[in-house]
């Protein structure tokens, strides 16, 4: 199982140096149900798909949005998390105009493509941490990122950083990625996810890790 482990609360490295987070729990549970022996491997975001294709691991579970471009290269299971809305954040006092101003996002993320399509000015940073730093010191007007990632940051910034405007939904939900030639594995994972949706286990996990999200499936 390939994971990025740099995107709390989906996946991150905890203080003991282990992979932790919503996706860790989910992956372990799916493997148990599908009777698979799962080993967790971290990989950086840029090469996570090429390494799946090369066979370094068999599945990607890394907050990966199901998009048509990615579907051309790999296959996805059904979604295990609804499309995470992407939100704009900005310094307190900013208004709706930030959505057409200078917006930061991580290099080659779905948000980056969205910003370009929307006509605003995109500034791409090597990592999401950099984007947050940029909006804090006024480099950019706002950041467009997954709401799940931003919530903690907004809550802990006191009143410095706020959400601006409505959320937008980019792409499909989150799914597990597998090689296109690995239909058997995909079926097994799909069955496990469906079972978890049916008996409420998936909802329980989502509630545990994401506040305020109940009964999604």
């Amino acid at each position: 199982m390939g994971v990025e482990a740099a995107y709390p609360p989906f996946s991150f490295i905890n203080e003991d140096g282990e992979v932790d987070g919503f996706e860790r729990d989910l992956g372990d549970e799916i493997c148990r149900r599908a009777e698979l022996d799962c080993v967790w491997v971290t990989n950086d975001w840029e090469s996570i798909i090429p390494n799946l294709v090369s066979g370094n691991y068999d599945a990607i579970i890394a907050a990966m949005t199901i998009t048509p471009e990615r579907d051309e290269v790999i296959d996805f299971t059904q979604e295990y998390y609804p499309p995470d809305p992407s939100s704009y954040i900005a310094l307190a006092g900013a208004g709706e105009e930030v959505r057409t101003g200078v917006i930061a996002a991580a290099v080659s993320s779905v948000q980056a493509h969205y910003i370009v399509d929307s006509g605003a000015t995109l500034v791409e940073f090597p990592s999401w941490d950099d984007t947050i730093a940029a909006v804090k010191n006024g480099e950019v007007d706002s950041v467009l990122a997954d709401r799940g990632f931003l919530e903690d940051i907004v809550n802990e910034s006191g009143d410095d950083i706020v959400f601006v405007g409505d959320d937008t939904t980019i792409g499909g939900g989150l799914g597990i990625g597998v090689r296109e030639s690995d239909g058997e594995l995909k079926d097994k994972l799909d069955a496990a996810i469906a079972a978890m949706k049916d008996d409420g286990a998936l909802n329980a996990l989502i509630s545990k890790w994401f506040e305020g999200r109940e009964n999604v499936y």
């Binding site: 471009e69 493509h113 010191n137 480099e139």
Partner: protein
């Protein structure tokens, strides 16, 4: 789209001219070659300007290091040690963080006939911030090269200059400096090549890419990630850098011939393609 369309849409995309959206699907080889080529403009810009400005500072620092005065040689040594002793990658990152911390000053300096606005906001932009880092870095390496050349300069020439009464800046400009250049040139060529390659790191560390305008490697990464196929994009960027390297060798080789034109053919330092023995 055909190759000609690619050229017209993306030829200057790295400067922001042309098609605003980067190709997302149906990416052809022409698209990749043109866009990565347009990114090379940044690499050339950085290389040329960093080397040009760095040349001056390097000479000053080299003279400082060679000076018997401790107030001059100690700072020169420290400067060279810090910028040669640490990785460029980390220098980029540290400087970017430092620039970000600069207070958002916007002052205007009124010189009477022209008003210069200072906007510290520009320091976090790659075209200025990264250039400063590259400039300082190449100055340190070049200073060390020039210092070695100064030390190896034949004493006889210097003594002859003293004998006929040439001193100070005149002696430096007519006698010391040309010899220093001549001795340093092969090593300095290597430094130019390293600098050309180092410019590929700019958008990898802290500096962001505005409006998706980046250098050749930035676009190569974009294509490698969007086509999930690194075997086309990276060889293209490798080929472009080989061309850059060859161009640098040709230009510096021509200068080398001119610097050595007064020597008998056998005594001329041939510009061999190897890291310098003087450092």
């Amino acid at each position: 789209m055909s190759c000609l369309e690619s050229l017209s849409s993306y030829g200057l995309r790295a400067l922001g001219v042309g098609e605003r959206l980067l190709p997302r699907s149906d990416i052809t080889i022409c698209d990749q070659v043109v866009l990565i080529g347009s990114g090379m403009m940044w690499n050339i810009y950085f290389t040329v300007l960093a080397m040009a400005f760095g040349f001056g500072l390097a000479t000053v620092v080299a003279l400082g290091k060679a000076s018997p005065n401790r107030w001059l040689s100690a700072p020169a040594n420290a400067f060279i040690f810090i910028f040669r002793g640490s990785p460029l990658f980390i220098q980029f990152f540290l400087f970017y963080e430092a620039f970000v911390l600069l207070p958002k000053l916007a002052g205007a300096v009124d010189l009477g006939f022209v008003e210069i606005t200072l906007d510290t906001r520009w320091f976090t932009r790659a075209w200025l911030g990264a250039l400063i880092v590259l400039f300082l870095n190449t100055s340190a390496y070049s200073a060390e090269i020039f210092y070695g050349a100064l030390r190896n300069a034949p004493k006889g020439e210097s003594e002859a200059a003293d004998a006929i009464g040439m001193t100070g800046f005149r002696k430096f400009r007519r006698i010391v400096w040309p010899t220093m250049l001549r001795l340093a040139w092969p090593a300095y060529t290597n430094e130019a090549i390293f600098m050309g390659h180092a410019t590929a790191l700019v958008f990898f560390s802290g500096f962001p890419a505005w409006r998706q305008e980046g250098d050749a490697l930035y676009y190569a990464k974009y294509f490698a990630e969007n086509t999930y196929n690194p075997f086309i994009a990276y060889p293209i960027v490798a080929a472009y850098f080989m061309l850059l390297t060859l161009a640098l060798i040709a230009i510096f080789g021509a200068v080398n011939r001119r610097l050595n034109r007064h020597l008998a053919p056998a005594a001329r330092a041939r510009l061999t393609f190897r890291p310098q023995l003087i450092r």
